[in-house]
Symmetry: C2
């Protein structure tokens, strides 16, 4: 194998695929990126952690075909520190020699034959093509509400539906639920068809980061019975379609609320962060007392003491005292763009809805915590 | 105890003294700051880790005298998040209530009687008063060459001498030696007297950070047989004078060199950082080959491979191959301000001098590493 490629192209490609590497796994080859020549003017980079894989293509001048794997982290470190110029990579007896101007590296890798096979071909029968920006924006709005992906259960997934020009995404871990709707340009061949999928929240997070490294305005998603392939520009993300019945979350969202507060977001963030100083890491509970155009927040911990703060709000309804894990509330406040937010309440034990006071179609449902004593 | 003070004054005071707290020690009270009213319009903050102590004074309106201790970290967190306004602190039965606008904290502390006694009085017989800026600049130039302070040996100290208007500081850990000389305004009562001290490098590092929080142009240092008190503005740092005979470092610096290189600093930093990617954490050895107006750097590790880079330099003398722990060289390069540096060499096993090509009176001596094979 021997080729010459631009430093920035190579670096960008490595930064994209390295998100799928496994750094401290049992198989050292999974920490590596597979480098393959494709024809005479492209190379392909691949990384995989078995659960998901990323491939990307880079323009190159291929002088001799071949395949080899090199540690992704170290390769990225090397390329990033090279001077701006063409980079030459040449393979001799399991050692890749990288040269750029007067810098030279002899780099020990692992044979490509040890790298797992990544199958990126998929029938394009069930696929959509939509705008990238609203898609990644929707990801940022819901992804943190999903359960941790270590659990590998259904709730670590994100539900995604495209119906004509409406994209809906939702995620829930049982304690909170985030749902967002975005208007998208639907460039699919059959834009009337409803497209649905349940996909790992981790893969979506990586996708939203990768999209920042790509200039493509559109994203294409294809699915088969068990597989999803997402294409942005020259990059493909391959993952499995999660199987099973996701909760019918739209039924969980209450339709009417006897109590409603309108609150300035920044004031609430500051007050919550102040009150939280006195709260122990373990419980994270802040008490919210709504009433008379005032919201009183309070927290306490046996070892440190207690804290309270009062902010002015607009409030309609009977006074209510309710408690939340403040981290869930802060998470919503840090995602939402609107300067003012709505809190819609029923009883101290019922699901409470947080939403922006703006055109955004975004809601965040939080289950309260029962107060003892 | 009851007083009112400005938020920023309080916060600044806590940020200064908390550098002497012990966060996870055996004595919980050492994580606390001692707060004492002094007369009717000042409060005093104190923290100590026994090895060194810091006190500072803050303007306040004292309504009731008293003494109490509160956890420094949490107190700083609370004060920093308060709105800009006056802060009131009131003590009732071992609970300090802090209020500011509509925020209120009941904060559990530890009785002042458990706090160690910090003696800051000192005879001012042997003292100097000099400019702060050149003093802290000198600290930054030498402090990293001292041995780790865990060792608690003489080499963890910094030697400091003021002779009329020349300040000299030096530190060495046996592998490298840094010496700097600065011209200072000497405002001492007896500016003819030579002042010398050996002081912990850790205390000097903290001092240089504290000086950034103070506006004082001058610094006063007083010493007794076993104690040093450094005063900047309303802050005092109290530490012990280190005892013993520091190496006669000026005798260690070679006076003549048959070989000399002039090198662009940025080019050397980039090349060293590139070559270092291939070096294992354990040895940190980079080989330097000087000759013919070129410097070739190379490194290798059995597991990853090897690296080399070549930069253009000005060189006079016979070619020489010498190896260094590259981290020591990088450390010098990141401290020195000059755009070009000098490397003065004797043999592959003798001390090598790094120095700026500028008016700065700063030298950094590095011992080479013996190359095997």
């Amino acid at each position: 194998m021997r080729f010459v490629a631009g430093k920035d192209d190579l670096l960008n490609g490595i930064r994209i695929v390295e998100r799928a590497t496994v750094v401290k796994g049992l198989q050292p080859v999974l920490a590596n990126v597979l480098i393959e020549t494709i024809g005479t003017n492209q190379i392909k980079l691949t990384a995989t952690d078995f659960d998901f894989s990323i491939t990307t293509m880079i323009d190159a001048n291929v002088e001799e075909e071949g395949r080899f794997t090199l540690p992704a982290k170290k390769l990225g470190d090397i390329i990033s520190r090279l001077q701006e110029d063409l980079v030459k990579l040449e393979l001799n007896d399991s050692i890749a020699t990288i040269t750029c101007k007067k810098s030279k590296f002899d780099f020990i890798g692992i044979s490509a034959s040890e790298f797992p096979k990544v199958e990126e071909n998929i029938s394009e029968e069930d696929s959509i093509e939509i705008e990238t920006k609203p898609f990644t924006k929707a990801i940022r709005h819901v992804v943190s509400a999903a359960a941790g992906y270590e659990t590998n259960n259904l709730l670590s997934g994100v539900v995604c539906e495209v119906n004509k020009n409406i994209l809906e995404m939702a995620a829930t871990d049982g304690n909170r639920l985030a749902r967002v709707r975005e208007v998208v340009k639907n460039n699919s061949a059959d834009s009337e068809k409803v497209f649905e999928m349940l996909i790992s929240s981790k893969v979506l997070s990586e996708l939203s980061k990768i999209s920042l490294l790509s200039e493509s305005e559109n994203i294409k998603i294809s699915k088969e019975a068990k597989k999803i392939v997402i294409t942005i520009d020259k990059t493909k993300i391959i993952t499995k379609l999660m199987q099973g019945q996701f909760p019918k979350y739209n039924q969980l969202i209450p339709q009417s609320f006897p109590k409603e507060a309108k609150i300035n977001k920044s004031a609430l963030v500051s007050a919550l962060e102040r009150v939280a100083i006195m709260i122990s890491e373990k419980n994270s509970i802040v008490k919210f007392e709504f009433g008379d155009d005032m919201l009183k927040l309070s927290g306490d911990s046996p070892e440190a003491g207690n804290s309270q703060d009062v902010i002015d709000i607009k409030y309609t309804g009977e006074p209510i005292t309710i408690a939340f894990n403040y981290k869930f509330v802060l998470e919503f406040l840090k995602i939402v763009e609107s300067e003012d937010i709505m809190v819609q309440l029923n009883t101290p034990l019922s699901a409470t809805v947080l939403a922006p006071v703006s055109d955004e179609d975004y809601i965040y449902l939080v289950m309260p915590v029962q107060l003892r004593g």
